[in-house]
């Protein structure tokens, strides 16, 4: 179908509609008139410029936007609408457009401005299209006033900048607080270390002179005096243990305790600890039994594993009454050695089971039957186990007994933090 026929058909269709609304127009609109209305309804300014730069055609929006009347604009060169400062070179831009005439945005990537009649500048976006007529290149410029959009963008940018500034201030605060926390932690560690030193110094002479007295080198003591000196010694050692544990815990918490792992026979290490615990067990008439059959080597910090076993075993003996049993079991489970220290002792109430791994917690509160100990043993034990990459579990019921199970990785894992690892890497 030829284009003209199509246009005619459309015209017919459109002109029929008003009849249906029973408001027939006095004069049917031509297609040109309708296009004109279309042009005038556009909020963008549309201008046609001839090869000499003169404005030949414009819409109402152009009048409003630039503040000139149609009569004033017609025949003026388009440079009139360009900011005074840039006017001089604008004809060159026109010439270069003529070399590559195609529909494209003007000054792509640049922030363009136009000038109103009253001299005010405003930001614009301009789209250029070639329009060949009678062998001459006319340019159709569609100009959009982007003042509002710019303002919104500026506002967003300002908000973003303010946000960035606030964020960086917050970051600075956070860093300062981190430094403060680090400093406080260091001071705490230093305080604990120096407190430990200051406490150990008088304890040194308390223990030393008590030992001298107990040795009776300066004269014999009667039974009562001997017992008294024994009490002094025992409590001095207890105090020393407390100081050592506080220091240990402080080292662990400040990350200063470094494991020194080595390969060793686990059964030898366990036997050493059992030997130490046997005396206390015998004096309480508690049966102590080694049911562990793990006969391989373990890669761990031997001293710390001893400490873990010793803490658990001495607790088990301590909380088991005469005639009871304490025993050690072991098994291997998915790459971990599981060591269980079990007893038939007084057990731990369910509501206390989580708390016993906390610092200074002691089973039974103020009414507890057994008062010796620092309340730090299990907290340290758990930390030592976790430093090794293992875990500690408790199963217990009151008056039936307790089972503490420690897992230790059998293979050297990357999680294993140690000085040896660092030296090797």
């Amino acid at each position: 179908m030829p284009a003209s026929t199509a246009a005619k058909d459309k015209r017919t269709t459109v002109t029929e509609r008003p009849k249906k609304t029973k408001q027939p127009p006095a004069h049917p609109e031509s297609l040109e008139q309708r296009y004109l209305k279309l042009l005038e309804a556009v909020p963008d300014a549309i201008l046609e410029v001839n090869p000499h730069g003169q404005i030949m055609l414009l819409n109402q929006a152009a009048e409003r936007m630039f503040g000139y009347s149609r009569e004033e604009l017609l025949g003026l060169t388009v440079e009139t609408l360009v900011p005074a400062a840039l006017r001089g070179r604008h004809h060159e831009h026109r010439a270069s457009y003529a070399d590559h005439p195609q529909t494209r945005p003007m000054g792509s990537g640049l922030e363009l401005e136009a000038q109103k009649k009253d001299g005010t500048l405003f930001p614009v976006e301009i789209s250029l299209s070639p329009n060949w007529r009678d062998g001459e290149l006319n340019i159709i410029a569609s100009v959009r006033d982007i003042t509002e959009r710019k303002r919104a963008e500026d506002r967003i940018r300002a908000i973003r900048e303010q946000f960035t500034v606030e964020l960086s201030a917050k970051n600075d605060q956070l860093e300062a607080r981190n430094r403060e926390v680090e400093r406080a932690n260091r001071l705490k560690s230093e305080f604990v270390a120096s407190m430990s030193h200051e406490l150990r110094t008088p304890l040194h002479t308390i223990i030393g002179f008590s030992e001298l007295l107990a040795e009776e080198v300066e004269g014999t003591l009667n039974a009562k005096q001997k017992r008294f000196v024994g009490h002094v010694l025992q409590d001095a050692h207890h105090l020393l243990e407390l100081i050592n544990e506080v220091l240990d815990l402080s080292k662990i918490e400040s990350g200063k305790l470094e494991l020194q792992p080595e390969l060793f026979e686990f059964s030898d290490c366990l036997e050493e600890v059992l030997t130490g615990a046997r005396q206390a067990a015998q004096s309480k008439n508690v049966r102590l039994e080694n049911r562990s059959n793990f006969a391989a080597q373990l890669y761990a910090d031997r001293t710390r594993v001893r400490e873990i076993l010793n803490n658990l075993l001495s607790n088990a003996v301590k909380f088991t009454d005469s005639g009871g049993n304490v025993w050690v079991e072991s098994s291997v489970n998915s790459g971990f050695l599981e060591i269980t220290v079990a007893d038939s002792g007084i057990g731990i109430a369910p509501e206390e089971q989580a708390a016993i791994f906390e610092k200074f917690y002691q089973v039974g509160g103020d009414n507890r039957r057994i008062r010796e100990g620092t309340g730090l043993g299990l907290a340290i034990t758990r930390q030592l186990v976790e430093l090794h990459g293992g875990q500690i579990f408790l199963e217990s019921s009151p008056n039936r007994g307790s089972r503490f199970t420690v897992t230790l990785p059998l293979a050297k894992t990357p999680a294993f933090r140690s000085t040896v690892d660092r030296k090797q890497s």
Binding site: T201, G208, F209, L212, V217, E258
Partner: protein, 122 residues
């Protein structure tokens, strides 16, 4: 008779060490700070020195370094005595040139065996 220099700023601690050592049959010489320790050591040339690390007027490490520079003290056993209990203290002391390390509070048994180890003939 073997002579032991005790360097220790605390009177009670000096008395304790002296009592133990005299019972063992040693002759005890005393100094109560780092400076005095250097003077006394150079004047007396003892057979063994128990040197506290934490002292006024030159700490134990400074005294050790000064003494080890002196030809007469190259072979004299010098034992560090300290109430500090930080990890690596013992290694640090032995690496610096101390012959032994005793931490406070020390057990009398440890003290005696350490001296026995370093002065076997006595």
């Amino acid at each position: 008779m073997r002579r032991v220099l005790i360097v220790e700023d605390k009177d009670t601690s000096r008395e304790l060490l002296r009592t133990v050592l005299e019972k063992q049959g040693y002759v005890v010489i005393e100094a109560s700070d780092g400076e005095e320790a250097l003077q006394t050591a150079r004047a007396e040339i003892p057979d063994l020195i128990l040197l506290d690390l934490h002292m006024p007027r030159r700490n134990g490490y400074e005294v050790l370094i000064e003494l080890r520079k002196d030809q007469r003290f190259v072979a004299v056993p010098i034992v560090a005595v300290t109430a500090s209990a930080m990890q690596g203290d013992r290694e640090k002391a032995l690496a610096a040139g101390f012959s032994g390390y005793l931490s406070k509070p020390l057990s009398l048994a440890n003290l005696r065996s350490e001296i026995q180890r370093l002065l076997p003939e006595a």
